[in-house]
Symmetry: D2
């Protein structure tokens, strides 16, 4: 017998810009939102009966219609409002709202930061994923596309050698990566009206960057552990941290054919191939 397995559907790449006017001073919010629903959609598949199918166009409309009232603070709270709305639809068992926030910073002028002109910062994208079910809500915050480099304090030694191993050990290499990091908030914190998602995001980001800058890295694997542990230690409201880190290799260029010596100075940056390390660090007490 043939049957439906896991399935979900929704709308992706919904581009929403909200302009908030406080007198002469404007603030701009710029999001890309996706909605995905799971639930009792079997007959939509097998019978072609759309009676249960919330149109993805309706999802898009809902995002825009919710923005005036509900997009007033952190993207996590906007995600909560939307996830609750969609999970309240009877046939929906889980609603997942994924939000990317693109950051616009005020343009500096002689009179100070501009009240109504902005520059889009490409340093990273802030992300959130809120998933609501009958059992409760999961709130994951994060960032991606944060590209960082250490030019000191990274090594890679002591790895096993087999007949296919040619890599030399090194106690001084460039470590470069494009960070994708996600952290799950403890439900008791995430559900509290007073929880400050924005301040927590900033604090986690600052911890991540500072630890990256200052730790000694024996491997990308160890770097994840060290950064994630620092985040968990500093933030009791976080239960779990996941990082996905490509190893963006920088290879020293052999200058000897040109009569030159490369004293750890000249590198070629490469993208293909790249190492890729994906790891989760969490509290072992199972608390959530």
């Amino acid at each position: 017998m043939i049957e439906m397995g896991p399935n979900r559907y929704g709308k992706a790449a919904i581009r929403l810009v909200k302009l908030m006017r406080d007198g002469e001073r404007h603030t701009v919010r710029d999001l890309t939102v996706a909605v995905a629903l799971e639930g009792d959609f079997g007959t939509a598949h097998s019978e072609g009966d759309n009676a249960s199918v919330v149109a993805t166009d309706t999802m898009k409309n809902t995002i825009y219609a919710f923005a005036p009232e509900h997009l007033t603070g952190a993207i996590e709270r906007f995600g909560h409002a939307l996830a609750h709305h969609f999970v309240d639809v009877p046939q929906v068992s889980a609603a997942t709202i994924s939000i990317d926030e693109h950051r616009w910073v005020r343009i500096p002028t002689d009179d100070g930061p501009s009240p109504a002109a902005f520059l889009r910062s490409g340093d990273f994208t802030r992300t959130a994923e809120v998933r609501a079910t009958a059992a409760g809500v999961t709130t994951i915050a994060g960032l991606r596309d944060l590209t960082v480099m250490k030019s000191r304090g990274s090594a890679f030694v002591g790895f096993p050698r087999d007949r296919y191993t040619t890599l030399a050990e090194t106690d001084d290499r460039i470590m470069a990566t494009m960070v994708t990091a996600n952290w799950r908030y403890r439900a008791s914190a995430a559900g509290s009206a007073g929880f400050d998602y924005d301040a927590t995001f900033d604090a986690v980001g600052a911890t991540l960057l500072e630890v990256f800058a200052e730790h000694h890295s024996p491997s990308v694997q160890a770097s994840i552990w060290i950064m994630a542990r620092a985040i968990l230690e500093a933030h009791p409201e976080i239960d779990e941290v996941r990082m996905v880190l490509p190893n963006l290799h920088h290879w020293a260029v052999d200058l000897t054919p040109f009569g030159l010596e490369n004293q750890g100075e000249i590198f070629v940056a490469t993208r293909e191939p790249h190492g890729l390390i994906d790891a989760t660090v969490r509290r072992g007490d199972g608390a959530s």
Copy 2:
């Protein structure tokens, strides 16, 4: 207590081209390979001890070193050889090999298909994922980036309307999507020396295209069910089919301001936002 959660690592974006020479007649294989290992890597993270860490550079070397002997047939078989090699490393509990095959077809000439000149076909990318553990091997074949359109035989009616619904019902719309499809082979078939992965890939692809062309689509959800069921019915060696289909909306352009009537003729193709339907269809008997 802070502990490691799920983790894996490996090498991605390994670009491998193999040129096979049969006298004057050449054949070219063009793959992008990724390796991911899971296992007992806890001390690499928490102690910075690399004694268990197969270097990702070694993984890359292994791919190239295996290619002369093991890349002689379907990518699934190359994946098997590599997955077995890596899962045999004591500390490795699971090895996943992901392969994209980029297709080169012979350039037509007056003397027939060229023996040694090729054109890269952009119609789709063939994919395979082989995962080996102590419990056995899972083999998933698939394709992605196959963009198709139906200009007849697609409707969307009968969906629920709430205060956020503005979409009109339609019994005649353009349906366009970029197919990502994956199918899992029954272990008994995939493990058999005589199983013809290439012929099966071609047959599944042909079924998918033919059913897409000929079915009536009441929704993208139903289309997945109809196409996947056809594949399962035609291929007893397949246990499960997953499809991820964006709905690439084509909106009719309002020409009335220009004194023209748009009789289902002029559309704007859009990418943002898009519907996104992800569903798995499988045999319910649990056979594998």
Copy 3:
């Protein structure tokens, strides 16, 4: 004194799909169109006076409004209609219409090619650029993103060696490139009502591919000359051919560390860096 220099403006990335219905048999045209105007727009810049500024939104509307009547044949002819329309605006001295055509081919079924279901071919994109001025119309046809490879018949020897040269001479290398080719039609041909742009495009493309497959390449530079000359010799209606060819290097992998010999069989395909050859070949008689 500060003054305006060269300037142009317009609308880009206008996505237009036209569905033509001949009874049960449909045909789909899928274009991306751009308009660029030059002319007397100085006061728009220096005075902020928009009296001469055809809104780019109007350009977009015009594309859609022209499609029912004027997009009935080759993209070059659609370009002509649009270029004439815009250059007739008094303040416009030159109108350039750039069109990409995305190719959809009929899905094969047991009953033959489908009448109303299509697969988007990714082999290449057909292009056209039509520029109209008071002096006349220039019509350039072309293609891009045609990726081809020769595994025999390519060499690179005899190049100068200086202190920075390390490349070995080779009489047998893989030659791979992604072709961008453009050819300018003689005005007398392009302006003729009976000129068959589609057949000529097909013929030029076939010549390009066949010569690529069969020629011996002493360098990418020479390949451009050989292919372009063949096109000019076969097509008196073409005055000039320009090709831009990256050299997509495939480097032999050193397998000796693994106890293997690489007999011209295993390569790594690279994109960074790449050679880039840009050359125009033309009739020297100045005829046009």
Copy 4:
């Protein structure tokens, strides 16, 4: 007679990272370099004779070999050294060096900016193009991918209306663009040993941003004039400014179907289609 027309060739996408160590304090430079040569390469094309063809691999090597000694200051100076080197090759009549500089900023820590850990800024990419011929050297500096938005002070009124015009006039719209700007330095300034390219780049960028923030925009065309003129007025060492500005449209969302009024608050950000304005502003005295 068939003959060669304009042609050039070179190496592109050369990725160069230089790590400069001043005791504990490191500085990282991250460039993508391209070389293009013009000259007497006719026989390379028509005869397949490579005696004049500087191998593009040699170009790449030269970039790396020059980096230790010549990449010590602004990218313009590195470009000068390379352009002079290549134009000194007898058969070369023009050498163009194009450089993108990817910016890494120091990671902030509790102890101040990190001496050896960096974050890649995605705000913009700095660019330079140096072209050397027997007649002299042209130096163009610039930036790209600088995305900016004004939420006040942008209008578009008074444009002509024809039968294809539907756009409403607006005296208050969001103006958003991704700036590509290039400016040509007067040869006397660019050639001076004491000219400070870095300080000038910073000053031009600051002017561009400040004027963008503070000007009233009657059109994108006028904005280019206003910004470019301000740059020329502030910088006598600059002869010409070119800007290419897409108009990244933000359309107000109609919320009335949901019983809401959109008071200039909720927008959809779009990319297709977009306006595209390309204009050069220059000194009219022809001085250079």
